[in-house]
Structures are given as structure tokens and as C-alpha cells.
Symmetry: C2
Subunit: 235 residues, 2 copies
Amino acid sequence: MKNIIIASTSTIHGSTYLEYLLETLETFFANAKTILFIPYARPGGISHDAYTAIAQKGLSKINKTVKSIHEFENPIEAIEQAEGIFVGGGNTFVLTYQLYKNNLITPIQNAVKSGTPYLGTSAGSNICGLTIKTTNDMPIVYPPSFNALALVPFNINPHYLDPDPTSKHMGETRETRINEFHHYNTPPVIGLREGSWLHVNESSIILNGPLTARIFEHNKTPYEVNPGTQLNHLN
Amino acid sequence: MKNIIIASTSTIHGSTYLEYLLETLETFFANAKTILFIPYARPGGISHDAYTAIAQKGLSKINKTVKSIHEFENPIEAIEQAEGIFVGGGNTFVLTYQLYKNNLITPIQNAVKSGTPYLGTSAGSNICGLTIKTTNDMPIVYPPSFNALALVPFNINPHYLDPDPTSKHMGETRETRINEFHHYNTPPVIGLREGSWLHVNESSIILNGPLTARIFEHNKTPYEVNPGTQLNHLN
């Protein structure tokens, strides 16, 4: 019954919040009038209220009401009763910290298993993987674990960025970082470029959007896959 | 008695390993014939032996012998007896994990307090700060704490990178990330560009190299400081 959208980003360059996904979301959230928003990742440190207003503005274009988890007295009940869940981007460490603090890991896993549609963007997508060990974010808070929701049997690298051959900067490229990950961990990593998303539907995992994605498997040369590719064999 | 060089990077574009620092290091390590190398950060996941060979090649130009901590049976004794310490770059999480695993945090702090010169580059500089919460690295292993050596009373962001006004990438800029850090933490952060280093000499902390550094203080607008600036008031 799993039904998940794992999007690299909420916003692509030159367009408004969630705009490129709205047509897809209209179908995806067809049976949900109200979407439970999880604002914990706080992009730029903004308040939960301010972030919720952004999500509401984006989703009002497809006539959804957004209610944020911080407005509920009991966040676990909020998850259990949600018609649809949207976890927005921001800082993955802050998001993970808050999910553990509010004991929401298992409730979200159970809700998704029982069919509640889950939309994640950026940090909200990162936590769909096995761990947050392939986040690009700064570790500004210390979460009790790097283990994430494990809704898919691999890791996500959102905002995947190709190496810039003209750069004189000596910091690591994204590919170098993911290769380093594989010195200590074996799960595959999907590098999702901005504009790409995975649609998980029960046991099917399909790459969507106009771009290829880069797949990093342990002890293999990284390779590209085209939109429409079935990725459920990766684990 | 503290004597520390905190360098943004080991290597600047178009030059060899440590080359831009060698003149400085000749004076800095004047009383050390043998340098104790700490290869734990394993850049690109290379072996301790391979990394030690790179450090040896760099420092042989100023006639230093490099011995790596992984060659000692007792790493704590290695620290206590070192004439000089060099902690190389790589992954800050891997480095921090290994320092805790080998119980080296306190021995290194004590050695530095008693006057052993300490050179850090990149990850080896990051850990000189209060925490590793302003690293750029991917969290590929889970360390028991984000607390670092606290040899200086602020945090370091090595490889500091200015925002690229032409970029269409929607991932956070470095400045955005450090500002997010300050939503959850109060210590100042020094953004050290490649080619810059801090020289800590007892209570003096001076910016060196050809470039300005960017200083981020809690609840203040970030600002630039020139080479030669005394930074010991930051805390």
C-alpha cells in the first residue's frame, strides 16, 4: 500500500514553491482534503508558522488545506489520523532530531505502510532512505541516531550536483563524498537532481521528471538511469 | 604555550600538498624533527599508509620525518611523546569517530596545552573548534559526539565558499548554512577561505594568508576581516 513521492527539491529555479509537482500531486493526494505538514526541518531557521504558510500557499493551488503537526497537541495522533503527509525541506539534522524527540519514526513508518500518501522534498526525502548519512546539510544539531525512516532500501542524495570541471575550489565534489560513504556503508545511493523525484507505489520505485539520476552502488562505477526506470531492484 | 596552525586546506589550486605553507611550517616545526601524523580522516577513503606517504612527501621538503599514529601500538603515548602533531584533512565525521574510539580527545588537548605544535588542515582544522557542527562534510559515520577539541573558543568553517550569484542550484549556500547554525548555537564561526590559516600563539589568534576571512557572530551581520587581524576577542 506504500505511496510515496521522494522529490529532490521543493522548488526548481525560476518557478514557485512546489509548482513543477502540482499536477502530479493533484493525483497523488486525490483522496486527501487536508495535508499534515511537518515543518521540523525549518529552512533558514524560519518558524513553524511561517513555514506552514509557505506550504499552504503552494498546496492551495490544488485546493488542499494544510495543517501543521506543531498545531496538534498529540503529534503521534496527528500522524495516525492524517489523510496525507508532507515533510518539507530544510536541515536534515534538525528534522531528524525533532522526529526522534517527538517519537514519530515508528508512527510515520506505520502510516506509510498502511497507505497514507507521503510527500517528501529535500530533507523530507533524505529521511525516506535508510540513514541520513548522505545528506548535504550542515550538522547543526546532534540527533540521537543517523537512522532514518527506511521507507526505501537505499539512501537518497537530494539536490545532486555534478562536478564543476572549471572549479578551482579544492573541497570534495558530491561524487567524491558519496564514494567516501561507500568506504563505510554498503547501501546504494540515488543522486536525485533538482527536478527529479521517485514515485514509490507498493513495490514499484520509478524515477520521474525530465532528468537522469545518478546511481552509486557499492564497489561499482556510478551510472545514470533515465526517467521511467524501475529502481526496485536496488538494495 | 599553545602553538597551533589552523589551515583551511592542505592544498591550494595549482600547487602541491602543503606547498603554500612550507615556509611557515619550517619555523612552526623548528624544534620538531619527527612529526606525528594523524591520518584518521582518510580523504577519499584512502588507507592510513597511503595518506601517510602523502604527508611524508609534503613535509620531507622541510626535512621532517613523518610517523603516523597508526604505526604505534599505543596511540595515547604517541600523542604524549610527539614533538609536533599534524592532523590531515578528509572526512570530519570519520576523524572525530576515530579520535573518540581511540580516546585521544583529552591527550591531544593536553599535548597542545603543554606546547606541542599542532597543525590542522581542513578536517584537522575543523576539530580545533568547539564542535564539528560547521563542517562541510557528509556524515558518513555516526560519532559519539559532535564536540571537538575546543582549542579555540569558536567554530571553524574550512574551505569557506562565497555564494555564486550565477548559480541556478537551489541547495543552500554556505552562508545560509552557517546562519542556520546560529539558530541553534551561539559560538562565532570563522569562514576560512582556501589559502588562509589562523595562527594561535598562546592567547593570540591571527589570520594569515593573502585573503580576508568571513566572521559569523550570533545575531550579527557577517563581516570580513583582513589578514593580520587579531581574533582572540571572539568567543
